[in-house]
Symmetry: C2
């Protein structure tokens, strides 16, 4: 992409320096809100407030919606309460919920008290849905139509109400009791004869979600049916909001980040990495590190138990890191393939048998190749054929174990209705380490005829 | 979501059993194409072909677009060449490119030869753009408008050409030489007075990408500006296609999957896990496993070098797995946080110093907690204070190392214009293992006064 932002940035800096504020105002007025938001992010707090105040009201609100957590909070705090409230009042209700999620509870309470009763009620309703639900991310700004309307009446209503709606491309037909009857695409309204009843052109069986459905599920539904707006109904099947595709892009991004973190043994971090404090980050990481180190205590016990083996053949110790590292790596690979497959729906619970078979075969294959290398190394170190054979057998064993444990645990998590991604690399690595160590030392004991 | 699919499936099975094909046909006609595609996927090949032939032409094409690789290939092979070509001819050109990417080259060649010259030319053009480029995933089915049109003329043109266009919500205004002049939203056309020139309401500075831009970059641009259609221009800035938001959802999903795989040390797998062969999967995994095992050979050398230490204090060996596992885990955590931050743009190259400082501090913190636990264990095993202290110092050391190596390598990759995700868990684990081992044994030698 031709980077317009960089060009704009240069002109903007020049105008700012020369204090040509009128031109500056005009320049920002023609820029994309996303670009203005990014440029503001690069400025000092004082410049940011100054530039922000130069924006037209409508653009200011749009720019504000594009800004990031910390800068928004800081910007808000530089405004008077009524200034802040007037921005919050005009925001789309879904963006407002997202903002409130980021702000400290005290600030939210204060801002809410300055809103008009109508917007305050709305904001509270959305905030009260569970954080990861469709109800929490939806907007109530949709176009509703009545069943007895014609195409031209529908277009008139769309024209009249378009201003503050999230999308005008899909309208929602509701019964007098607000139950969802169907959806109408603007495309079909435009192509239809003016006096056709909308009931003739609407989709009478529209896909919808309920307010309590998970936002990840919501994203999947939209992606599956290629929808650009998805109706959200309450427990009595009344239409209460919609989710649009721009929200879904954020959800997909966030959920992927959460999965990446879980798979690395990190509890989901809410803030940006750069904004999160060292203590917060450490706390999010500590839990799994503790679980792993406590599990690893077994490995010390196992090794202590086999002291006699290590004392008679010290060369056995040489291969411990190689062995457990290999098991951990194959376990991580297998679990990643399975977790991702389960997450995007390519693998289903019923495929467990198929997956385990596949992982056994590929474990045998990969294990054999790696075992050749490792035992060759043992051979060149002059450990003798016994240790070389022990290493070879154990490498095949840990690779198979890594594959099977890595493939099985995500299925087990799914079965227990837990996100498969919690069966993270670190956990699987540790489990495979301990099992692999036991295997290795036991093979050595038998093969080399060691006695305690 | 109320699962309509399950309900449909039951009725469909009943009708199929009773051979009520007319009702079956009517039932499928009211179903969502995505659901029909999923139900077909669960049937036997023969039933699938039979059911597919019951679909109306238009729906058949839509269902076909929703189907997965292997089933599409198999379905195509059950058709005569001209039957297959008539489906391919009518597909959206972006979905067709995606289909051709999946099919064997020989099949593609045959199918292409049965297309009309116009569609064949188009298909070839798109196929010839690099696989991961905007040109490869775009569609040429967009609505173009001329600069001298009024709002009502524009709406007339949209009405007349809407049929085979990917979206009618954004139209593209081009000069006689096909250069992109602006974009017009249907929303604005509808709200404008009929005789307003479209140049008055179009966005004259639209965001666009070029055919050679990466599809991940394209996805990011659309997500950044919340666009539902993004123009694609050639090297002379002529408008040649558009990318729409439904393509982008797939791209984001695919790219996340690739990153997950890379971070687990797997080369990107093109097929579904269940469809990919054991050999293919093993090959994709082998490279990094080999890199890691070869790196691990150093660990055998290091341990051999310190044989005297292990022979005099066998308890040192007890803590090897715990130590290297801990280093690997913290390295994986740190690299995941940094890789994800770099990928979604939360962290930039200039933040290296900040990130390293943060990781040092959190390494010190986490290391201290874990060291306490590990040395307590050494103490209870009766290894004596020397070994306990050695373990404590080494745990703090490997955690710091894990954090710093894990945070640094992704930056290095980015600097070298490589996807940071290749600095995967397995690689970082292995590097930290080897360094950590060296640290541990050296600390032991000095602290315990061991001599060779």
């Amino acid at each position: 992409m031709v980077d317009l932002k960089e060009k704009f940035l240069a002109s903007l800096d020049k105008l700012f320096e020369r204090k040509q504020f009128k031109s500056l105002k005009e320049l920002m007025a023609v820029m994309e809100a996303a670009d203005v938001a990014e440029i503001l992010a690069e400025k000092t707090p004082t410049e940011r407030v100054f530039l922000f105040r130069l924006l037209h009201k409508d653009q200011a609100i749009e720019v504000f919606e594009f800004m990031e957590g910390a800068e928004r909070e800081e910007l808000l705090s530089s405004f008077t309460d009524s200034e802040a409230a007037s921005i919050i009042e005009e925001m789309s209700d879904d963006d407002r919920t997202a903002l409130f999620d980021e702000l400290p509870a005290k600030t939210v309470k204060k801002l809410l008290s300055h809103l008009s009763p109508k917007e305050r009620g709305l904001a509270n309703t959305l905030l009260n849905y569970p954080p990861d639900s469709a109800g929490h991310i939806m907007t109530t700004e949709f176009i509703d139509l009545k069943e007895r309307m014609t195409a031209s009446q529908a277009i008139d209503r769309i024209r009249a109400t378009a201003g503050k709606k999230e999308t005008i491309y899909t309208s929602f037909v509701v019964a007098p009791d607000r139950r969802l009857r169907g959806t109408v695409q603007l495309e079909d309204l435009i192509l239809a004869a003016p006096d056709v009843p909308i009931t003739d052109i609407m989709d009478t069986n529209p896909v919808f979600v309920s307010t309590s459905d998970d936002r990840e599920e919501t994203a999947r539904t939209m992606s599956r049916y290629d929808l650009q707006a998805l109706p959200v109904v309450d427990s009595e099947e009344r239409l209460v909001g919609i989710v649009t595709f721009d929200d879904i892009l954020d959800v997909i991004q966030d959920e992927a980040t959460e999965d990446f973190e879980r798979m690395a043994g990190i509890q989901p971090v809410d803030e940006n990495y750069l904004e999160a404090g060292v203590l917060t980050l450490s706390r999010k990481r500590l839990t799994w590190l503790l679980v792993c180190i406590v599990t690893q205590l077994f490995s010390t016990t196992i090794l202590e138990h086999y002291t006699f083996a290590l004392e008679s053949v010290v060369a056995l110790a040489f291969f411990i890191p190689l062995l457990i590292d290999t098991g951990g790596n194959t376990g991580t690979q297998a679990s990643t393939l399975v977790i991702r497959g389960l997450t995007v729906g390519e693998i289903e619970e019923a495929d467990l048998g198929h997956v385990l078979l596949k992982e056994s075969l590929s474990g045998l294959l990969l294990g054999t190749v790696l075992a050749l290398l490792a035992s060759l190394r043992a051979w060149t170190m002059g450990t003798g054929p016994g240790v070389a054979l022990t290493v070879a057998i154990s490498v095949v064993g840990v690779v198979m174990m890594g594959n099977l444990v890595g493939a099985f645990l995500p299925f087990a998590a799914k079965k227990m209705k837990v996100d498969p991604a919690v069966m993270s690399g670190p956990l699987i690595t540790t489990v495979v380490d301990v099992l692999g160590l036991l295997l290795y030392l036991e093979v050595a004991r038998r093969l080399l005829g060691l006695v305690a």
